[in-house]
Amino acid sequence: MIADLANVRTRELLANLTLREVKGRYKRTALGNLWSLINPIATMLIYTVVFGYFMRVQIEPSPTGLDVFALWLMCALIPWGFFAAALQTGLGSIVANANLVKKVFFPREVLVASSVFALDVTTAIELGVLMVALMLFGQMVLPWLPMVLVLLALLTLMALGFALVLAVANVYFRDTEHFVAILLQIWMYATPIIYPFTYVVRAQESLNVWLAQWDLSFPLTTLWELNPMLHFTQAFRSVLYEERMPSTTDLLWCVGSAAVALTIGWYVFKKFEPRMAEEL
């Protein structure tokens, strides 16, 4: 990828395709790009009403004294929303552009990358609005802006790695996209986004009390911590909601999982790329 991206033309193609995605997405809708704000706001309202008021999810106030469920939620939900959407559009990008893949030679990974990068544009806007909202509540988030961008970049690379593998899989098995839709739903609830991690700790305690009658125990929190998205959402929350540096563990997980996912994704994609045109 480094070699490919060093090529000016590949970079321009990537930029143009990304622009195509961004411009094409909300064409012919009356509200246009406003949709990229309306969607997360709607999700926020739904989750806040259901989980914040009806189910009474208990969150800890931030060290700065902020205690607003909706903001706490969005600090993790926006990164998750990006990741889920990136996987879903990225995995369909090769099949959706079958016509192009079968007729023109160009590095195919730009199709996957452009669909992921196009989502960065909307996610950046969403994060921007969130930061304005946080500032209205008295948070000093601006100094943390560079860190937010670094985290978003790492998350993008990890999502790209996943999307590359899934895009290949989807060429061979069109079931992939339906399978991934379910997987993402499970994955979202397996990540502490709408509930705090303390809930998992408590669940493990009561589980182990029950298992103790057979002298067993189950490392539920350890299992939860194997999820890279847990570390990403925690890192985003540290920076935006708590205004402090993410823990070293979280940061290492973010960097590590981005590197591993991208390496594997790149390797798998390059291995299958030559035969893509005939398999479509």
Binding site: V8, R9, E12, L13, N16, L17, L19, R20, K23, G24, K27, R28, N97, N99, L100, V101, K102, K103, V104, F105, F106, Y172, F173, R174, D175, T176, F179, P274, R275, A277, E278
Partner: protein, 401 residues
Amino acid sequence: MSTAIEVVDVSKRFRMYKERNQSLKASLMRGRRAKYDEFWALRDVGFEIPEGTTFGLIGENGSGKSTLLKCLARILVPDTGNVRVNGSMAALLELGSGFHPELTGRENVFLNGSILGLGKKDIESRFEEIVDFAGIEQFIDQPVKNYSSGMYVRLGFSVAINVDPDILLVDEVLAVGDASFQAKCMEKFADFRTAGKTVVIVSHAMGSMRTMCDHAAWLEHGRLVASGPATDLVDSYIDKTHTDRPVEEAVHETGRHGSGEITVERVELLDGADESVSSFRTGEAMSIRVHYRAHQTIERPVFGLAIETIEGTYVWAYHSRDGGLDITSVSGDGFIDCTVPRLPLQPGTFDLTASAVDWTTQHTYDLRRHITRFDVEAGEPRESGGIVAMGATWSPIKGDA
């Protein structure tokens, strides 16, 4: 002369799935992926394309031409052998692929240009030319979904041709747009060739292949039959495919109308020895025999004949009144001959229309469009291309050598 493209023992195998299974379930049930038959689309094809030539790939449908072109374009990867390319390359396999319908023509020019490998600066500097060539100045800021299909392919062609590569691959896309746009395309190709660039063409239009190409390769069932100078190769290809075609296939009639007092029963084509045949060579004698049946006595009938190329170009027509023949009357069955001493047609396929009309030629008794079809193969005179063989001669130059 150096080589632009070197094709070395290229084979390409396709999998023909017995059951195309793209579902995980089917695949898991079977243990592995679907069972398939192998099909060799190309088998050990090797030849060289010299730099600066126009090279044709000929062969019937399914002979592997397009697969080979896609291998040259790097869209498909050969299973064995390899393709060596010297220079930049662009392929016109499908025009306007990659256009986004909601984006404007302008945005799509930049998008499509970069897909084809053009930099932003290159596109900017050629933008005027591209739009000008496509002839859609006033619509350039409209979304392309509002374009007519003609405008769409014209813009696609215009972007592609302006990529200006060293090697251009073209697949049957010459037939886009109206006559004037086609003429512009041909001019562009000519410029391309004079600039010393290499063009590789796949086409079924043998007439234009014969005139446009310097060299050609002939494929049959994925194997190379021959490669060499285009003229000879195209001629032997036409000879071969026409002898392969069954004679009784000649039912191409596309329309019949008339009042029916006289009916044209059938038309026979005869060679110089009065043998019924379906193909001729340029310069041979040809007789067209029209068998008619007059259901009542008809005074002063006129018989007419017309020839069109298979593409529909009107080549020739002649009726018996213009031929100075005043038939007093006809009744019952009979036939009438029209003789061509030396057939002045270039190789190709032609359709014949026969009719019986009254003396004024305003009333039609029977008209049968494309009642028969015949082939013309290379003979004498052998001229370079087109429809007619004029038996022209070149005289030595007058002037200083």
